[in-house]
């Protein structure tokens, strides 16, 4: 009997504990736990495909953790391919032109890095095939893969872009992943975003303030 009496409070505590546990059974779970539990591909069948019909997708030529696509840029460029006009290397074309004559894209002002570091020829192939970009080591880069050009200097941004924290996802959160190329948002000749006016008046709390007053 004594033993049972001693056990009673323990039993009571166990019951209490069990009850309080069952009470918290609800949805409360730490996000870190939930995220950690999932290491495999999700089984849902939602795809980004149907939302991206109009985009001309191209597979990015990178060894990323997961395949992703980029919108093709060359098809939207009005004066591409460059070789339509640039039939000869730059120095020959320049030699043939009249003194002071400017034919095309003379209005482009390079606002990108310092003049010591960059000029037109840093990215554009002025010596060979004008349709392609050229890397710092002289290798050619396809115009649709301009991110490789940018990545040479902007390695931090490139890493973030490839991972997913820099740049912009297109159309859908689901797979396959389609993201903007660098030049879809940044003008390569003037990559910084200019300050501008907000799209609308920020009236987040004016309504409340006028009410309070």
């Amino acid at each position: 009997m004594n033993k049972i009496k001693k056990l009673l409070p323990a039993l009571f505590l166990i019951c209490l504990g069990w009850q309080s546990c069952s009470h918290h059974e609800g949805p409360h779970q730490s996000m870190a736990d939930i995220v950690k539990q999932h290491k495999e591909e999700p089984a849902h069948n939602i795809s980004s495909d149907k939302n991206l019909d109009e985009l001309v997708k191209m597979m990015a030529d990178v060894q990323a953790r997961d395949t992703f696509y980029l919108p093709r840029r060359s098809v939207h460029m009005v004066s591409f391919p460059c070789s339509n006009c640039h039939t000869a290397p730059m120095n020959e074309l320049k030699a043939g032109a009249k003194a002071g004559e400017k034919k095309a894209h003379w209005n482009i002002e390079l606002k990108h890095a310092k003049k010591d570091a960059m000029d037109c020829a840093t990215c554009h192939n002025t010596k060979g095939n004008m349709d392609e970009l050229v890397s710092l080591t002289g290798r050619t880069i396809h115009i649709d893969e301009s991110f490789k050009q940018c990545a040479q200097c902007h390695s931090t941004q490139y890493k973030d872009w490839e991972g997913g924290s820099h740049g912009k996802r297109l159309g859908s959160w689901a797979k396959p992943r389609v993201i903007n190329n660098c030049t879809n948002c940044h003008n390569p000749h003037s990559p910084a975003f200019e300050p501008r006016w907000p799209a609308r008046l920020n009236t987040a709390s004016t309504y409340h303030q006028t009410k309070e007053k």
Binding site: Q29, M31, H38, R65, G163, P198, T203
Partner: protein
């Protein structure tokens, strides 16, 4: 023993008060009929609460209402023989639909058939009222999906494009300028929301400032859901906290319980110009609301469950907004969580928001 006594006292008190309040005889809430099933349910399955009773009651009531409606329609038909026939038919239909709508159940408890019926009614009612067609979806949560959101405070420049997109997408009240998203302009080096400017209208970004957006964080442990007396708001399986606008009584408990200013109230009937109404709707999302109900961000449930990004994500010109599936180890949001120094607001409250902030 002392505790026990105290507990007993406190549990008796509230049960006594309503009795004394309703004990006038004319009131039906204290009748023995209701006590029977309550005790039964408590005894057999402790997890069952008022829901089943509501369900049972609802079907009973619905039958009664159907009979009433039939009577009403018959009466209306009799009384209006002199008027034009077509107009009468439409009026009759509308009256019937309104009756049915008024007495429908909580969306959470509806069967798929009932959901389909109410959606048909809503679409038909809009057609009768406005002449246009809307498409209301009842698409449920997909397996293996838990939505999460990340906000890059280095990238946001306060352009406010997200707010415009949100208002247009979600049919928010134009009259009171309701907005789910708030963009707070903070001075560099401080994140005091009391000191933030929420009413800026100047060229952005302002020098020496950063911008931080808030909206519903879709907490995994949502306090707003906890306090709702009618269970008109709940956490869906894919992590979206939703509101059943037809079950909300407008008590605004949730608004008070939300530590993040995530909920909005319709003080008046929301005004949305007919040509601006987004006709692609979801029952738990952007369908048109009425006066006296709560609403909030739903991660654009009508879009996200369809595989699309929310309107704010799509509209953001800087890519500061990242949306994705937390259960997909290869998703962008998971990459951000793994590789960036992320933080959440008021983490100490244990609300587990699925909305993280980070810097480049």
């Amino acid at each position: 023993m002392f505790f026990k006594k105290n507990k007993n006292n406190s549990s008796e008190e509230p049960s006594n008060t309503p009795k004394s309040g309703c004990g006038t005889g004319s009131c039906s809430c204290g009748s023995s009929k209701e006590h029977g099933p309550k005790e039964e349910i408590k005894g057999s399955e402790p997890k069952k609460d008022g829901f089943d009773q509501v369900l049972e009651k609802k079907t009973d009531r619905r039958d009664a209402i159907k009979k009433l409606t039939a009577g009403l329609l018959a009466g209306a038909g009799l009384a209006s023989t002199s008027c034009s026939v077509t107009a009468n038919d439409l009026d009759k239909e509308m009256a019937g639909l309104e009756w049915e709508e008024y007495f429908k159940g909580n969306y959470k408890l509806m069967t798929d058939k009932e959901r389909g019926e109410t959606i048909k009614r809503l679409e038909r009612m809009y057609e009768l009222k406005k002449g246009g067609k809307i498409n209301v979806s009842s698409q449920g949560a997909a397996e293996d999906v838990l939505y999460g959101y990340a906000f890059n405070i280095s990238k946001c420049k306060g352009y406010m494009d997200c707010v415009n997109a949100c208002v247009e997408e979600n049919n928010q009240d134009r009259a009171s300028e309701m907005q789910y998203i708030r963009i707070h302009e903070h001075r560099n080096g401080s994140m005091n929301f009391e000191m933030a400017d929420d009413n800026f209208y100047h060229e952005v970004p302002a020098a020496g400032h950063f911008y931080l957006g808030t909206q519903c964080f879709h907490c995994q442990n949502p306090p707003c859901v906890e306090v709702c007396p009618t269970q008109a708001t709940w956490l869906e399986k894919d992590g979206i906290v939703v509101v059943d606008y037809d079950w909300c009584i407008g008590c605004r408990y949730c608004m008070a319980a939300c530590p993040y200013d995530g909920r909005r109230f319709n003080w008046a009937t929301p005004q949305v110009p007919e040509e601006e109404v987004n006709k692609n709707q979801h029952y738990l999302g952007n369908r048109l609301r009425k006066k006296g109900v709560m609403e909030k961000c739903t991660f654009c449930i009508q879009r996200s469950r369809d595989g699309k990004n929310p309107a704010c994500v799509e509209a953001c010109p800087t890519g500061a907004r990242i949306f994705g599936n937390l259960l997909d180890p290869n998703s962008e949001i998971r990459w951000v969580l793994a590789n960036k120094k992320v933080f959440r607001l008021k983490e100490d409250l244990g609300t587990e928001p699925k909305f993280w902030y980070f810097m480049d």
